[in-house]
Subunit: 213 residues, 2 copies
DNA sequence: GTCTATAATGAGATAGAC
DNA sequence: GTCTATCTCATTATAGAC
């Protein structure tokens, strides 16, 4: 099981390192943060950092474990009321909160995989489970008459949803120069919503509201 | 003008370096190729490489100039017969050929921007011009009754088209492990085609054919 | 223009004292 | 568990001979 939490015993210092690393990565980009900076920001010495994480890869993987748990919780959040269209919008909101909290994994994916090659297969596994959850969700929407799409439509749609969701932050960075900010979430939310819209029935209300973060 | 060709006089060695660097980057990934390897593959000494390109960034930017020219040529290729649906499919084929020939810029974008920070603004400019060409294309399709979409629909669609086109290779790499191969082009082609399909009218034939590369 | 050196970086990683 | 000090190593970059 690739997504289990780490085995090593808990420690306040260790937790602080992870917390600080997550913040630094999220803020400045994973490729612009060195182990020295992380140790410094955590108030410990660089040598001490290596007591907890012998390789930078281990640090990244530990962060990924948190992300994986959060993503699965998000993906498998049950729809409050499947007969109420707004419930699905709320579900989508959950995804965008996740993207923001762990934006290092969305924005800096390639850089992180450079630091931690093992990340690739963990990501593949997680992606599979996340997509399965979305697949079930669309099944539910069809049942309730909110969606009209063939199985094939849905497979292609899920692929495109995943790509747009995973990379819109990097795309936005290129176009705007500035790193992605909370205000940009509405843009991404809208792009994703429009992917789904062509397959919604008249029964479904518009789902292009601005997400709360 | 950021997209002009370089000013330095031509030279066989210089051309060979660029050609070899493009091939190596395309093949192995931009972040896995060192200047030493490039010089070696070009049959010259590492010191000599720095006679032509004082910084690795200059090498990347020179490659980008080729890419930019090819991309603009692709984007602005006139539609052979705007009243013939297949012409638009051919246009899309052109894009996928470009993606393959310069896949380093699609697959290794973040790594390249790490090597050459100036790339970001050049990419932004190029993206803008490319999107403008696609915008005109959709206008043409509307004129000929192949497309039914509001201006707003088209703006969102272009954003999603750009994201899926730009990042599907990286996504595919995560899911499959293996680097993207020519066979995968059909998958990407299909994902892109399905983004557009909901806005096509009955007059437009299906455009989901497999691209030739 | 091309080569042989050799420097200069800058990061990750470790050994061993406390 | 934490620190100081040091090492390794890949890479970019330059100086100067030919």
């Amino acid at each position: 099981m690739a997504l289990k939490a780490e085995a090593r015993p808990r420690s306040k210092t260790r937790d602080r390192v992870l917390q600080v690393a997550l913040a630094l990565f999220n803020e400045r980009g994973a490729d612009r943060v060195t182990t020295a900076e992380i140790a410094n920001a955590a108030g410990i010495n660089e040598g001490n950092l290596y007591y907890y994480f012998q390789k930078k890869e281990q640090l990244v993987m530990a962060l990924f474990d948190f992300f994986a748990a959060a993503m699965l919780a998000t993906a498998e959040t049950p729809i409050e009321d499947p007969s109420e269209p707004l419930s699905y919008t709320n579900y989508q909101r959950g995804w965008f909160k996740l993207m923001w909290d762990y934006r290092l994994f969305y924005r800096d994916g390639p850089a992180l995989r450079g630091m931690a090659p093992r990340l690739r297969e963990s990501l593949a596994e997680l992606t599979g489970r996340g997509q399965q959850a979305v697949r079930r969700l669309f099944g539910l929407m069809r049942q309730h008459g909110f969606m009209r799409a063939t199985d094939d439509d849905i497979e292609v749609l899920i692929g495109n949803l995943w790509i747009v969701s995973s990379y819109w932050m990097d795309f936005r960075l290129i176009e705007h120069g500035a790193p992605v900010a909370p205000e940009d979430l509405a843009w991404g939310f809208r792009q994703v919503e429009r992917l789904v819209r062509p397959y919604l029935t008249e029964r479904a209300v518009l789902m292009d509201e601005v997400p709360q973060v």
